[in-house]
Amino acid sequence: MRLEARHDIPLWMSAVAPALAVLAAMILCSALILWAGFSPFLAYAALIKGGFGSVFALSETLVRATPLILTGLAAAIAFRAKLWNIGAEGQLYAGALAATFFGTGMITLPPVLMIPFLFAVGAVAGGLLLLVPALLKAHLRVDEVVTTLLLNFIVLLFVNYLLFGPWKDPMAMGWPQGRPIVDEGVLPNILAKTRLHAGLFFAIAAAIAAWALMRFGVLGLEIRATGHNPEAARFAGIPITATTLKTALISGGLAAAAGVTEVAGTKGYLTLDISPGFGYTGIAVAMLAGLHPLGVIAAALFIAGIYNGADAMSRAIGVSNYIADVLTATSLLLVLLAMMLTRYRLRRG
């Protein structure tokens, strides 16, 4: 067996392949559901209903998708430049820390200024956090996979320290959480009786901006050139190091914005669990989207829906919600396989 590159890839193929892959993942996972003693049909019906089946279900999926869009964009843009940022989780918390530091009373501005201000300081914090590994990579060739990954733990432990120590809210009955964000800084609710907040608009706008940058921006061209072939990009006079550093600032900033939406939108204050691994799941989102910024929106909705739906499914019929992890992982693997098969065909011999 060997792979042969296809010469022209029909459009329908690249559109249908991921959908088929998701379907195949569901069929594969139904074996596990059967094994656990439940009907896959009922389980999937409950999952889809719980993820997308009502206004409330949909609003919860959108709430969850908001940070995933931002961390997905962070991964998508960094990976385009072959900057392997595995540290979105840490950058997310860096953004949350900055929003908490500036947004819990230190500075108060009218909401039209306060909210952009919080996003700005958060993004700067996350960008600077990723700048360190990027500088190490550019100048000393330190592997950024290792540094960004390990920084996650450092940042999380630092948050731990702050929330159990100096930043602990005295009004929180002893819970390790930060003081609430001032009212002017809270992201407004956009649908009554749900948790849906304006962070969603910010995330979608960020995706459109990221798409425009990659498609029409000079920096986007430089990022793509650097990622595809750094040697040729350097030969053509593109400043590789500067491009990598700019990419790091953007990627870190986007991941940090997810921390801001959680602290200033979903929760209202910093806790140790504002992110159930949004930073890591963002990598899966970006890969599912084929690193396309607009595809990230769809991929984030899909994954958020599966997780929310799986929770509902486990409440309704008792299948463990870990099936969501399995289903996401299987979908991801099969989508990657499907994308490869659209680009190459298998040949015997």
Binding site: H7, G217, L221, H228, N229, A233, R234, F235, G237, G349
Partner: protein
């Protein structure tokens, strides 16, 4: 069939397609015992594909192969070796950090044997070396060997595995004329002892010197088969090319102002592989060719002029202005047009569109962007004009560059370089891997740029190319550059001598002694 006309290899109707391209079209061939069969054809004619099928790297879509009367299992190099085929690839497949004997034995012994029978192997290697005149030190590390010696190791490796049919893919591409002679002597000895050789080449002179029989491939088809005796060189050349493509003529032109000057340039490199005391003066309306066996510092010199590396000593002057900040961006700004050696690795970015590759060097210039945003329409118009002007076939501005053929990819690079009317052009192997038509086009464009006042440095391993277009040729040997020889005084013998290191100073000879 009598003993002296025994057929050892028979190819029956071999066809191989890569997508829409038919690389081999119903090729049938036979090879006799004790004969040298030359497989002749231009680049891209399908020679290497055919041999890769024979050696089991590819599987033919149709047809089969018989060796010594038995059918060969397709798609298995192991089977091919067992059947008695040995292949010496164009790019050697030796482990640099291992010794000659390790390389030869590698793969013939079980991976986890407790005890390697190196003594017996050494004896066998020494016997083979003596028998065929393939002298190498069995205990030398490959990295210390010269190219010609490495080739001998490759041949020994094939013989050690019991090859009765030896395939040599462009074996002379990396050799000096003198080393080529030594190789031919070895090959003659081999066929005299009953081995058979397939000799792949696109150099007609060599084929006429060594072959017993000549098979010519063109566009994947076997178009002629002749015994060497009685075949005329002109006849074979005409068959090979299909039609006569007139090579552009270089008309003498008075040189103009100095475009590029190198003074005492030195670049350090590992074990003497750097550049030493390079001096060169290039003027407008002048093409200086740089010859030399590959690996003698040509790449470093090209990288230096391209702004990729900095010299440790010496100075460079472009158009009378000192050039001190060695970056690609500065080189572009100074008006140096660069055609890199490897168009896939450094020339273009295959996954970008043609229009994007065409503006890559100038994407920050106000022509193609404003306030950080690309001017989409200007970029597309620019690409459309260049596609028409340089006749880039099968291309729209948004076509992905990797879908282009080698010749058209090179046209994208040429378009990018020539469009800015550079004062200096550095062309490193600009026609490598191109067919005659595309190569001629490149030569025309270079001569055209010369007429428009550019000074051109042409680095090439193809002496014929250098002698066709250069006003003067300098030779590189172990990091040193000879004084340019004016075109009227050039002979192949003179160049061959310089390429082998004769006529270089004491220093070069001394280093040659160290490295050998």
């Amino acid at each position: 069939m009598s003993e002296d006309r025994q057929i050892v290899l028979r190819l029956n109707g071999i066809t191989k397609r890569f997508g829409p391209l038919v690389a081999n079209d119903r090729i049938s061939l036979t090879l006799e015992r004790g004969k040298v069969l030359a497989l002749l054809g231009e680049n891209g004619a399908g020679k290497t594909t055919l041999m890769n099928i024979l050696f089991g790297h590819y599987v033919a879509d149709e047809g089969d192969i018989e060796i010594f009367g038995r059918r060969l299992e397709p798609g298995s190099p192991k089977e091919a070796i067992a059947a008695g085929i040995g292949m010496v690839h164009q790019h050697f497949t030796l482990a640099d950090n291992m010794t000659v004997i390790d390389n030869i034995v590698l793969g013939t012994e079980p991976l986890f044997a407790l005890h390697q029978n190196l003594a017996a192997a050494r004896r066998k290697i020494n016997d083979l070396a003596r028998e065929f005149g393939l002298h190498v030190d069995p205990d030398a590390k490959i990295s210390r060997l010269a190219v010609g010696e490495r080739q001998r190791v490759e041949i020994l490796k094939a013989l050690y595995r019991g090859a009765r049919i030896l395939i040599l893919d462009e074996p002379t591409a990396v050799l000096t004329p003198q080393e080529t002679e030594a190789l031919f002597a070895t090959l003659r000895g081999m066929v005299a002892r009953g081995l058979s050789v397939i000799f792949i080449s696109h150099k007609l002179n060599e084929v006429m010197a060594i072959a017993d029989e000549i098979a010519v491939l063109r566009h994947g088809r076997l178009v002629a088969r002749r015994p060497r005796a009685g075949a005329g060189k002109e006849e074979i050349a005409a068959i090979m090319l299909g039609k006569e493509i007139p090579e552009p003529k270089r008309t003498p032109m008075p040189a103009g102002a100095e475009r590029l000057r190198l003074d005492g340039i030195a670049v350090s490199g590992e074990n003497g592989s750097g550049l030493h005391d390079i001096a060169l003066s290039l003027r407008a309306h002048e093409i200086i060719g740089i010859a030399g066996v590959s690996g003698n510092g040509q790449s470093l010199l090209a990288d230096l002029i391209s702004g990729l590396i900095r010299p440790d000593a010496g100075s460079m002057t472009v158009n009378g202005q000192p050039f001190s900040e060695f970056t690609p961006r500065r080189a572009i700004a100074a008006g140096i047009g660069r055609i890199p050696e490897d168009r896939h690795a450094t020339g273009v970015i295959g996954d970008l569109q043609i229009q994007e590759n065409l503006i890559l060097e100038q994407c920050r210039s106000p022509r193609f962007s404003a306030f950080g945003w690309l001017k989409g329409r200007a970029i597309a118009r620019h690409a459309q004009q260049l596609i028409e002007r340089f006749d880039i076939r099968g291309a729209a501005p948004t076509t992905l560059t990797r879908t282009l053929s080698g010749g058209n990819m090179q046209k994208v690079i040429l378009a990018r370089v020539l469009e800015i009317a550079p004062k200096v052009i550095l062309a490193n192997q600009p026609t490598r891997g191109l067919d005659v038509g595309a190569a001629t086009y490149v030569h025309e464009q270079l001569l055209h740029a010369r007429a428009n006042g550019a000074g051109i440095i042409l680095i090439s391993e193809d002496l014929e190319e250098l002698m066709t277009v250069s006003d003067a040729i300098a030779v590189m040997y172990r990091g040193r550059l000879s004084a340019p020889i004016p075109a009227e005084q050039i002979t192949v013998e003179k160049l061959g001598g310089l390429m082998a290191g004769h006529g270089f100073g004491e220093g070069a000879q001394e280093e040659a002694g160290h490295a050998a």
